[in-house]
């Protein structure tokens, strides 16, 4: 799933950096504040671990390979911001050490695997796990599902980035300049192996490691599980912010809305024609136009004006926005529905048996 250089246009890569750089800044800030000295060695070892996990390419029947990432289990153990840093470092190694390239595409890879994946996976985990005890089967299942959903969210984002390339960037005669597959081909091609093999690998990894840690070394999970009882008998410590279905759905919508402009920030998009200050940067959580973006602007508009016509491009963008809105709404609704259902079932069980915590698997 790691994107090498040459598959995405430099414009798309720049857009991805616009999302990734603030995320890195926040992550650095957060992580240094939360755990003072312990963070550096822990993050370093986790980054090394994530790199190793990515090295284990599992063969899949179509002849290519898929791999797990480990972003969700890191998010579960240390919080999603820690996962942002650890997986980003692992991706940097992938780009520089393995020489797979991916220097321009580093931002895009980070957005997919180091930002989207841990947040989505962690959100799903928190939602499903609720307040189940650390060692309960429900919590382990929640981790597995979180891993599964997380890696598929990343695969979907990767597919969308690939898929918008041929529409937006092609030669005058219509030959795609970068990744040649449109959305309708890229999405199934990416999702199929991830819904099956890689998703299963990530689910087993996430659930398995959580089960191992909860059993042997619950102290390692303390940072993210303060309000969770260790075993079924213990009462849950009070306090801590609760993740309700509504909050998770909203979080999902926010993340996806942030990601949607990825394709549109690129030239050919509705914004592409304008100067950078016309971009809705407030929405991206940015208050100043990044210097790099401002610099590229000259490049962009030039490419645009002399290059391919806009007419078909604009329709594609409209369709893209529309499908994005519908897609986000549907998925958010599903998350909300499933979350509410899980909560209700959990509450009912708790109602019938007030002493023991529920153990839904």
């Amino acid at each position: 799933m790691h994107i090498p250089d040459g598959y995405l246009s430099p414009q798309t890569c720049a857009a991805a950096y616009v999302v990734a750089v603030p995320a890195w800044a926040i992550a650095t800030n957060r992580v240094t504040r939360v755990v003072k000295t312990r963070n550096v060695p822990t993050l370093a070892v986790l980054a090394a671990l994530s790199f190793l996990v990515m090295m284990f390419n599992i063969p899949i029947p179509d002849g290519t390979t898929a791999h797990a990432v480990g972003a969700v289990i890191i998010a579960i153990a240390l919080g999603p911001w820690a996962a942002v840093i650890a997986v980003s470092v692992a991706l940097l190694f992938q780009a520089l050490l393995f020489g797979d390239g991916g220097v321009l595409a580093f931002g895009a890879n980070a957005v997919n695997l180091a930002i989207l994946m841990p947040f989505v996976g962690y959100g799903v985990y928190r939602l499903i796990a609720g307040r189940a005890p650390l060692t309960s089967r429900r919590r382990i299942a929640a981790a597995a599902i979180g891993g599964y959903v997380g890696i598929n969210a990343a695969a979907l984002a990767t597919a969308v980035e690939f898929g918008i390339q041929p529409e937006l960037f092609h030669t005058a005669s219509g030959a795609p300049l970068y990744s040649p597959y449109g959305l309708s081909q890229a999405i199934p091609a990416m999702l199929l192996p991830h819904l099956t093999i890689a998703g299963a690998a990530e689910a087993i990894l996430t659930g398995g490691v959580l089960a191992y840690l909860a059993r042997t070394d619950p102290a390692r999970l303390a940072a993210t599980h303060r309000d969770v009882p260790a075993t079924a008998g213990e009462p849950a410590p009070a306090g801590g912010r609760r993740l309700t279905p509504a909050r998770v759905s909203l979080g999902f919508v926010a993340v996806m809305v942030l990601l949607t402009p990825l394709g549109l920030l690129a030239p050919g998009g509705a914004f592409g024609e304008g100067a950078p200050h016309e971009l809705n940067l407030g929405q991206l959580g940015l208050h100043a136009v990044p210097a790099g973006l401002a610099e590229y602007n000259g490049f962009w508009s030039h490419t645009l004006l002399s290059g391919y016509g806009f007419h078909d491009g604009q329709h594609a963008n409209l369709a893209y926005i529309l499908s994005a809105v519908i897609g986000i709404a549907v998925v958010a609704a599903v998350i909300f529905g499933v979350g509410t259902l899980v909560e209700r079932v959990a509450r009912r069980r708790r109602g019938t048996d007030p002493v023991a915590e529920p153990e839904t698997a």
């Binding site: 060695p41 370093a44 102290a219």
Partner: protein, 261 residues
């Protein structure tokens, strides 16, 4: 508990009734008391898992006892005290620790950076740090390894780097955790000589070891632990080495082994 009780003003470490359990479940120390005086060489002996490494970590202010008191240089060492910038810097520059696992201790990308790490953290200027690093590299005979990465080093070389990274800070007290384990005989002999030299230069040394051969060179006083995480005996190397019963109990010798004295 202690045999020798000279003046209290040359006391480096003073431990009273230390208790420590990992994760609150696995006991490692169960009521250990120990005084270490300036310029002394103390060896901690005992079977695997008796708590030697744990005691050294407490002496270095890395973990804090669940019960009992620990004072260093006349000041109580607690988690709270070490939060204090000045106390922490003072304590860290006066006490150096060579870990049992050099892979954990040698964490920087190159040998040079590894050795410079401590001095830079304690605020020594870059120029002086660089000069000191060069001196230590030369002294330990690893100048040619300076730009290498740790994964390109052998176990013995890594140990030298770990020792260099501690010596460069010129601490008054040196803690060694099984310094001679996994070293070839020549490097072992070199290290034992180094410890003797450091001691002659006035450093205080506390080390954990299973090595009886060099005990009388590297220790003035031995503290023998029992399997129940308590101190079973304190004495000179001579006293300990002649007490066959004690050595057997501490797993330091086997029924069939003979101690050459």
């Amino acid at each position: 508990m202690d045999g020798s009780e000279p003046g209290a003003d040359d006391l480096v470490f003073s431990c009273r009734d230390l208790r420590y359990a990992y994760l609150g479940r696995f006991p490692a120390l169960d009521g250990v008391s120990l005084d270490v005086h300036k310029g002394e060489k103390v060896a901690l002996l005992g079977p695997n898992g008796c708590g030697k490494s744990t005691l050294l970590k407490i002496l270095d202010g890395l973990i804090f006892p669940d019960g009992g008191t620990f004072t260093a240089f006349g000041q109580p060492v607690t988690e709270d005290n070490l939060e204090d910038e000045q106390f922490s810097a003072g304590f860290r520059s006066r006490v150096g620790f060579v870990f049992q696992n050099s892979d954990a201790q040698v964490f920087s990308p190159t040998v040079r950076e590894e050795i410079a790490f401590g001095c830079l953290q304690l605020g020594l200027p870059t120029g002086e740090t660089a000069a000191r690093v060069d001196d230590v590299l030369a002294m330990l005979g690893i100048a040619d390894l300076a730009e290498r990465a740790p994964f390109q080093l052998s176990g013995g070389q890594k140990k030298r780097v770990a020792i260099a990274s501690v010596l460069v800070m010129n601490p008054e007290v040196l803690l060694f955790d099984e310094p001679t384990a996994a070293l070839d005989p020549r490097t072992q002999a070199w290290l034992i000589e180094l410890i003797a030299d450091l001691s002659a230069a006035g450093k205080t040394i506390v080390l954990a070891t299973h090595d009886l051969d060099a005990l009388d060179v590297i220790a003035d006083r031995c503290v023998v632990f029992a399997e129940d995480h308590t101190v079973s005996r304190v004495g000179t190397p001579q006293q300990v080495l002649t007490d066959r019963e004690l050595l057997l109990r501490a797993n330091l010798i086997h029924e069939r082994s003979r101690v050459a004295l």
